[in-house]
């Protein structure tokens, strides 16, 4: 395909503003791969447009972000630590009980806060974030359903990239509880849910709206896709 510089430049002008419709966006991405790397003129044009697009943000008034945002960002920066099994650190004294009324049922969370301070602080961070999410006016609760007593939900905010899976009345797993998201032919293993006396919670780095189904299965770790029948599942509307 031969590229017309003016046409490429016009595409890039709208591309950097995130204003292209899907067909033109596909064309722009093709130009970015096939033409721009080898064309100094279009590369210069694109760099100039990118600078404009970034700086246009300054036309909006500067606003001090809420104070809790920086501590939350700091927590997210921490390198992931290997999680110890809940029972090992949860046998000590102290417990935090968080009651969250959602969709006609009450979810209680118990987290033992003894042993490693790191673990306790991290869990407290999750609880605070989950509570903040739950109390946000447009928060959503996606209940996962199955033929058992387990109550499992995914709590999220539309557009947010962080959700929380919360569970109660979970039976002891034969292997381990695996959390899966599926959609568009993709399967994503969100993690292994560690259970303490039937209770569990974990942050999930996605929004359920991106997927078609959410599953909780009981099976060994390390599988690329769920093989066991789900204990509970939900279809994202």
């Amino acid at each position: 395909m031969s590229w017309d510089h003016d046409r490429v430049e016009e595409l890039m002008a709208a591309h950097v503003l995130d204003g292209l419709d899907p067909e033109d966006q596909a064309l722009a991405e093709r130009a970015l791969l096939e033409h721009i790397p080898g064309c100094a003129r279009c590369r210069r044009a694109l760099d100039g447009f990118r600078m404009v697009a970034g700086d246009l943000a300054l036309a909006a008034p500067s606003v001090a972000p809420p104070d809790p945002l920086l501590p939350r960002v700091r927590r997210s920066l921490s390198p992931p630590r290997r999680r110890r099994a809940w029972p090992a650190w949860a046998l000590g004294v102290g417990a935090a009980v968080v009651l969250i009324g959602m969709s006609g049922w009450t979810l209680s969370m118990v987290a033992g806060l003894a042993g490693r301070l790191d673990d306790a602080q991290r869990t407290q961070g999750w609880l605070v974030d989950a509570l903040s999410t739950a109390t946000y006016p447009s928060s959503r609760v996606l209940p996962l359903e199955g033929a058992n007593e387990a109550r499992v939900s995914v709590l999220s905010i539309p557009g947010g990239e962080q959700s929380y899976l919360m569970a109660t009345n979970l039976p002891e797993p034969a292997h381990a509880y695996q959390v899966w998201f599926q959609g568009g032919g993709e399967v994503w293993h969100a993690g292994t849910l560690e259970v303490f006396h039937g209770w569990a919670m974990m942050p999930v780095e996605t929004n359920p709206d991106r997927w078609e189904t959410v599953l909780l299965t009981d099976e060994p770790r390390g599988r690329p896709a769920p093989r066991a029948s789900p204990l509970v599942s939900a279809t994202v509307a």
């Binding site: 002008a13 503003l17 204003g19 600078m51 970034g54 943000a57 036309a59 500067s62 945002l69 920086l70």
Partner: protein, 181 residues
């Protein structure tokens, strides 16, 4: 003398949390300001700013200093995420409106903050450049940038041919590039 953005980014590449916090203090209000302007919802704006700073920390090498200033790179990162979020939000709201005709509450928190002189200068230049555009060009850039509308949506909503939208946006961006280079 304050460290430059580039010096701070080099320290961030070496996993220096202090450098990260300096950049956060320098740019978080501008980032939050644009996210709020696009999204009009404080929580979503916080999510966007959180994710953008996290992306910057996780992949500092994604910023190429030969391609432009760090400020523009970071603000683009935030803007792009804000537009993605507002489009997702609009799809969800449309779904909600079908189920519940009550319109959702819209937050609009505005609290201007003091900022470093360089950033304040640049802000003034951007506002002047935008104000110097012909009204019909400026409006289309603002609809695209601050509302997250695509070219075809602008054409539909404004009742103008899509070719006109494309040419006006292109002309506006060329003028802005010239004014701000």
């Amino acid at each position: 003398m304050a460290e430059t953005d580039l010096e701070l980014m080099r320290r961030i590449s070496a996993r220096d949390g202090g450098a990260f916090e300096t950049l956060y203090q320098r740019y978080a209000p501008a980032c939050y300001g644009v996210a709020l302007r696009v999204l009009h919802q404080a929580f979503l704006a916080q999510e966007v700013v959180h994710d953008a700073f996290l992306a910057m920390w996780n992949a500092p090498d994604a910023y190429d200093p030969t391609r432009g200033p760090f400020r523009s790179y970071l603000l683009s990162l935030v803007h792009h995420r804000a537009v993605d979020a507002v489009r997702r939000e609009e799809r969800l709201r449309a779904r909600e409106r079908r189920a519940n005709p009550e319109p959702p509450a819209v937050e609009d928190v505005m609290e201007a903050v003091a900022e470093e002189a360089d950033l304040a200068d640049r802000r003034r230049q951007v506002k002047e450049a935008l104000a110097s555009l012909p009204e019909e060009q400026r409006r289309l850039v603002e609809l695209m940038y601050f509302r997250g509308w695509t070219q075809s949506r602008i054409a539909d909503e404004e009742g103008i041919p899509i070719g006109t939208v494309k040419s006006r946006v292109f002309a506006a961006m060329r003028r802005l590039r010239e004014a701000l280079s």
